[in-house]
Symmetry: C2
Subunit: 214 residues, 2 copies
């Protein structure tokens, strides 16, 4: 068997997670391991590993009839923002304290790419850079537990965030808010970084919850 730097199990996990959180399978859909074996062309072993990881994230449930797709409901969304409002500012504040110049450059690059894509009306890429910006801050906070808590929450908003940044006016405001956060972090100002992040999450929440009908 050839060498793969990333295992089949990891690939299957990322693909399934992405498909489920993008809304490809409606809530209530039931898949089976054999479905996935034939569809993905790998054996049950890596599929089972991916399934178990998704189950731990409460994105699916395994039943006697197969794999039940849970996805993310609007209630989940409200619950998630309630939490992010309380801890995402902490990540920015910590990042502002400890970020290095190299990390800052990486953060700036993701921001500039986002600003590049906004006027192009390219929601997919805007969302990609938007996500990257947040994830980099999680990582640069230097708080592993915070990263572990925020990352799943952030991923679960993916589908709704695409709809949000498809609105050009919101995409534009979001990029501006990111720049404000970036400036505070670059200035190593934890209080400003935190306040601006909380404000940003609040705006994102209002926009997403308003636009979401489900």
């Amino acid at each position: 068997m050839e060498h793969r730097t990333v295992s089949l199990a990891e690939q299957v996990f990322e693909r399934l997670e992405n498909e489920i959180l993008s809304g490809k399978f409606p809530r209530g859909t039931v898949l089976t391991e054999m479905n996935l074996v034939t569809e993905l062309g790998v054996s049950r072993t890596p599929i089972r590993e991916a399934i178990h990881r998704l189950e731990q994230e409460h994105v699916i449930e395994t039943t006697t009839k197969g794999i039940l797709i849970l996805g993310v409901t609007k209630k989940d969304l409200r619950d998630i923002f309630e939490i992010r409002l309380r801890i995402e500012g902490l990540a920015s504040a910590e990042a502002a304290k400890r970020i290095t110049d190299e990390e800052l450059a990486e953060l700036r690059e993701s921001l500039e790419l986002q600003e590049f894509y906004v006027p192009k009306n390219d929601p997919e890429h805007v969302r990609g850079m938007d996500s990257l910006f947040h994830r980099l801050i999680y990582r640069f906070s230097g708080n592993t537990a915070l990263c572990d808590a925020l990352l799943p929450l952030h991923k679960k908003v993916m589908k709704y965030r695409l709809a949000s940044v498809s609105n050009h006016s919101r995409a534009s405001s979001s990029a501006k808010e990111h720049r404000m956060i970036y400036e505070a972090i670059a200035a190593h100002d934890p209080a400003a970084a935190e306040a601006r992040t909380v404000e940003h999450i609040k705006n994102a929440m209002e926009h997403i919850l308003k636009e979401t009908n489900e």
Copy 2:
């Protein structure tokens, strides 16, 4: 093969998680799947499943040489409390809003058992009931994402919490603080439940960080 209501994989996961978070394997220890096969007497399959779940929680890391034990450092502990301070009050507030009489009875029972064990100087049982109390509140918050975020954080403090409640004076204060929280939830008073919970976490943090030398 006989029927088991709980799978081998689940049993292995709970056992390994408990052993690692109790400090049985010092940070840096390297295990292998075959070690665990011979020690636990099951095949690699359920062991691998448990390993992957532990890896997702960042309690271990898999390397080319085997399974590297990470455990929970004092830095992790500070990071964890920083987060709990910000969201554990939310769980209590939500629970105060929506808890049912049956759930309230369950919560009261765990509290009364804790109060029963404190004067007996039985740290293991005190910790068990202490943990149960917190977990019940997470569940009764009705916020799945919050539950998913808090449960791993709470589990990771396990080892340090045992040392803490082994101090009789702290065990006694902790039980009193729990009762205050319980009364606020029973009175369906979210603001009081939240404030008392934050105070409780703050006290627990101070005590645990002071007692911990690592």
